[in-house]
Symmetry: none
């Protein structure tokens, strides 16, 4: 929280003229009363905030029903994180499973999600995904998305193979064909560099439009782009049937994410695109949307704090140091976790050590370990200089400022554990280690930091993708949401490939709800 006060209330002081004038409502976050909007600059049936999976799926269904649809995307390109994610997609109980004799069920899918989600998932939302996922897959295939034929991926945490592999190798395998399809629908407009500023609500609390800025230029150098960025031209946009929130998560929101999980410091990196901020979520909370499970951020525990985003050293840190070597706390020189535990356990342990003073742990291995892994894993990080090579462990300790004497003792102790086949400190499974230990020069070291991958929490929706109000306990009229801006589907932690089906399915459902109003 130390940096939460950094930004100023500059928007209120010097924001775009129209929006500032409209800001006369009681509280800064209360939405704008419809009575204060003297003229709508534009009118649509449906306004969609965000152009990833959820936004595009919603636009497809609403646009094909003949509704006039506007998709806003604040970044210069469409797709958000959806365009850069892995793109494989879970689909419990599907025809490929049937053909291959893989027995799956809605209940098994829900049970798998609950296990990783620590039991706090909203199971009615998972049930909806299971009920509708084959319709979702049909929708994207009809757009031209291509999956590897007759293939079911057996993703971690799932009890059975149930995920389609996207041929393109990334989420762009959906975004490109869906965008092409949307461009064929004459009533659908996609507008990049357009940022939603606030909701316009009528006297009953229903959402009837938004204020936005066209020609907006996102600035990743600002501490808080949502508050500080003043670019663009203010417009008022009416949404006659409603507004769809498809703005994604907040993995790149320095202040908001740290308030929820203070282990995350400003320098904590994320695998996400830079526009993943909490602005739309906060505005939704401002008009009463009930936030749930916001403090669950999912991390990858193999990343390097000096590399940007996913980086180049994840495989080295994971498959050399964590599979075979050790990770130590610089201050104590000692190990502090089972380096082979699951992602959440390791991320938690790493954060404990990192603390607030960025005391990044050091992952260590030796030449014998490097000889045993894929050579590509070490080549690029060595060239980039994030992995360093040393003639002795003493030199390694000096370079990374590791507490030397206890560190050398610790490595000796670990080697003893490997020899004995038992880790007495952290009960790491050593039987697959093939006698590898940390003893043969040269030695390799790299800093480790978890990076934020997905923010689990968000606004509460019902099975119709309607946003629930904390104040009334009822859906907020005219407000829908899908994908990472919502909470509950994944609970505390999500399984791979479930985010894609979540966003596509609830986007589709919101679009269907709008289509009913056509």
């Amino acid at each position: 929280m130390s940096d939460i006060n950094l930004a100023r209330r500059s928007f209120l002081k010097s924001g775009a003229a129209v929006a500032a004038t409209l800001m006369a409502s009681a509280a800064a976050n209360a939405g704008i009363p419809a009575a204060k909007v003297q003229k709508w600059d534009e009118e649509y049936d449906v306004v969609i905030i965000g152009s990833g999976f959820a936004g595009m799926a919603c636009a497809l269904k609403a646009g094909r029903a003949g509704l006039k649809v506007l998709i806003l995307e604040k970044m210069p390109v469409v797709g958000g994180n959806s365009a850069i994610c892995g793109g494989n997609v879970a689909c419990p109980v599907n025809p490929v499973q049937a053909a291959q004799g893989i027995k799956d069920s809605k209940e098994l899918f829900i049970a798998d999600c609950l296990k990783d989600g620590l039991g706090i998932n909203h199971t009615e939302l998972l049930a909806t995904i299971a009920d509708r996922c084959n319709d979702t897959i049909k929708m994207v295939v009809d757009c031209g998305c291509e999956f590897v034929p007759n293939k079911m991926l057996f993703e971690a945490g799932h009890s059975v193979p149930r995920s389609y592999e996207i041929k393109a190798g990334t989420g762009s395998g959906y975004i490109r064909p869906m965008e092409a399809e949307l461009k064929k629908i004459p009533t659908v407009t996609i507008r990049t560099r357009c940022k939603m500023d606030d909701f316009v609500v009528d006297e009953t609390g229903a959402v009837v439009g938004i204020t936005a800025r066209t020609g907006y230029r996102f600035n990743a150098k600002l501490v808080n782009d949502d508050r500080e960025n003043k670019t663009g031209k203010a417009v008022t946009i009416r949404a006659k049937k409603g507004v769809m929130l498809a703005a994604g998560g907040f993995s790149r929101d320095i202040e908001f994410r740290q308030a929820q999980d203070p282990r995350v410091v400003p320098s904590t990196d994320s695998t996400n695109q830079p526009g993943a901020t909490a602005g739309v979520l906060i505005k939704a909370m401002g008009i009463g949307a009930l936030p749930i499970q916001l403090c669950w951020l999912q991390f990858l525990p193999y990343c390097n704090p000096r590399e940007k985003g996913f980086g180049v050293s994840v495989n080295f840190t994971n498959h050399a140091c964590m599979d075979y070597g050790v990770v130590v706390d610089r201050k104590t020189g000692k190990r502090f976790m089972d380096e082979h535990a699951g992602r959440k356990i390791k991320s938690d342990a790493l954060f404990q050590v990192i603390g607030t003073d960025e005391n990044y742990p050091i992952a260590v291995c030796d030449q014998a370990i490097v000889d045993a892994i894929n050579p590509s894993f070490v080549k690029l990080p060595l060239e980039m200089g994030t992995v360093k090579k040393f003639n002795t462990l003493e030199e390694l300790a000096d370079h990374f400022k590791i507490n030397k004497a206890p560190f050398l003792e610790e490595v000796k102790k670990f080697n003893g554990y490997v020899a004995a086949g038992e880790d007495k400190d952290f009960h790491r499974i050593l039987k697959f280690n093939n006698g590898l230990n940390v003893s043969k020069a040269p030695f390799y070291g790299i800093e480790v930091s978890p990076k934020i991958h997905h923010t689990m929490g968000g606004v509460l929706i019902n099975t119709k993708a309607q946003v629930i109000s904390a104040t009334t306990g009822q859906p907020i009229k005219g407000l829908y949401a899908g994908g990472e801006i919502t909470g509950g589907v994944h609970g505390a932690s999500r399984l791979g490939t479930v985010a894609v089906i979540d966003a596509l399915t609830f986007g589709m459902i919101a679009g269907e709800e709008f289509a009913k109003m056509a």
Copy 2:
């Protein structure tokens, strides 16, 4: 979420006339614009919502500075959960520790809290508690609170004994003398059966007053009293210096708690008084207060499933059986956890054993242990019949249907661990146990079950107890908070006796902030 839609927007439709008229702002949750308040029915410097530890501490400091203070309490009696809680209070680095040679530190206190809090605590708030706790204790002692002299409790999850034992045996040991002290201050008014309805905010977003209802009658039979209850007479109350939120947690809010943690069903019991609902928290979110870590609900692992709510046996189970005795699984006759671990660890372990067939574990101690605790801890539960007394361990096993032979072995083994000073099974700290073990007849036994006790999340505050806005990242002018309605101090799970020092300290700090404005 299945029941979240139960309640109607009935307040808007048929609420108290004045409040309904004022509800013309943009959204139902946006606060009431000051410009719409035609007349203040009452004027105070400080309005405090809630009369527990945080509220009373704030009133003391503000009232003694000469400010005109109003404490609102919606229930018919003052004190909320504070009046019925255990009442022992953590105070890291205190004079009794010094006299007894107990080495403690701010850092150790923070580390202990982080361990149970899973690392997501806001450490700057914990540091504030450590810095100010001796002032807090002085404040309550000056009011006439009495602690057991020269005694430091070794509470579960703490690394050293650091908690004062309240002589009264409950939080009423603070509430009564503090209330008496407040009654001596002519500028302080305490008003029960008065419910805060909404905040009044000026055009800058600052809180300048509230709307409330006098003569309100809480109705525990309603699914959602905050929405459905229409009793009382509407008033507008100006707060010239500000409003203090001390309204507690939401352990009894059927809808809100289940939205955050769907494992909690409507019938899940809680130790809390029935008024512990989310109404004030939701209104605070409505004017922009940033909610953090809402999905962490804490269970108290010392409760009895045959007693309703908090019951009468918590102190016995905690301070006799879990501090000194053992807890066993009836089916195996064996211990299954460190009985001195933190609340989350123990609750998780207890739930594992209880399973779906209500296999409530049995907590056991002997006469020597009972002789060493506050006699009041055992008197009432023995009278109520939830604690049972037996001449032999065999009789105890027969009564509770414990697997006898392994149980008798297990007690023997535990006594050996106590003698050796080392618990080889669960690494329980035994060095402060003074050699107590389970060996001297008569013997005592009781069933154990966790109940919802404390909701960890709430609004984000800074170290001055100012509430932080999600919209601006800045303090909301005129809005302060302390105690269970705030989040961050405890992270995911709190240690026993830390809630009391949290609420008293941030209540005191808010009062000091108001006093500076006098």
